[in-house]
Symmetry: none
Subunit: 153 residues, 2 copies
DNA sequence: ACGATTTTGACAATCGTTCTCAGCGGGTCG
DNA sequence: CGACCCGCTGAGAACGATTGTCAAAATCGT
């Protein structure tokens, strides 16, 4: 237990999403602008996680220049809308990835860095189960395994 | 380059910890200063995760003033040494907590940060098995589960 | 096409974290 | 005991990611 209080306090504003479809109220009406399309397309062009800045860079190289602030805003919306996954890298940067990629984990050699991609239905099931058991929904997770590969032992 | 690489690209270093005592190399010789003692004690005074700034604040209130930079440095060392757990809050801040003896993982609410500690013999077994299967030894791993807690759904 | 609204983008402002560097202090050696 | 070496500290500058600001540009409904 330990009433862990929310680290982030006043973040209410970013939570705009969720409007029940029975609510006749305002319709956010996301506009299909060139920039938004560009970002969405960019997101579909790679499988791994990338930082907002890398994505911004990628867009620039593609010739579809989009303001950095706009990239941030768009990514945030997409993430809120659940269209892309967002998590934080080890050094605190927000990183994004198109939502539908096949999910797998990495087995990394501590010494030479050799990486093997592994899948684990068992783990997926376990995490979902554990989460459900505690009443958590919309579950996602990160898992990485470290070890010393055969060549480095 | 390219190819799916983990969010934490070449970040295997964070796992540095473990300074084997057989290393004949330079011995950092950590000095037992007032500040370090203060930080360690402070870490032992609470159970949940706190940010470096909160810890700094806490020390100040205790009368054991320690420079912010020193707090950061010390927390980092403790984390590297594996004496405390460090992870990232949803908004990218580094948060720390005294390391509990038992190995477990965290089920964190994406929205309010509420955290539940969970254990999973199954996962432990699975990771070891997968690693062994690929010939990796000295296995360790990191796993975090994210979701939306009952109160935030 | 026209006014209402959203969005955008350049840039300033935040804010957590790290770097710099002069001064301090613990430990050691003579 | 005193000089010295070197890690340690603190204050503030520097940094880098992210967010806020606001006038100009793009869209939408009519």
């Amino acid at each position: 237990m330990t009433s862990t209080e929310p680290p982030t306090t006043d973040r209410a504003d970013q939570q705009t999403a969720h409007q029940t479809d029975q609510e006749p109220a305002a319709k956010p009406a996301l506009r299909p602008t060139r920039q938004r399309r560009a970002v969405s397309e960019a997101m579909a062009s790679f499988e791994d996680f990338r930082s907002a800045q890398e994505i911004h860079e990628l867009l620039r190289n593609r010739g579809e220049a989009v303001g950095l602030a706009t990239v941030y805003r768009t990514l945030q919306r997409l993430a809120d809308a659940g269209e892309i996954d967002m998590l934080r890298s080890e050094d605190g940067e927000a990183i994004y990835r198109a939502c539908s990629t096949t999910h797998h984990h990495h087995l990394v050699c501590r010494s030479c860095g050799r990486t093997v991609e592994v899948e684990g239905p068992a783990v997926e099931r376990w995490t979902s189960a554990i989460a459900a058991e505690h009443g958590y929904g919309e579950v996602s997770h990160t898992l990485e395994i470290f070890g010393t590969c055969p060549a480095c032992r």
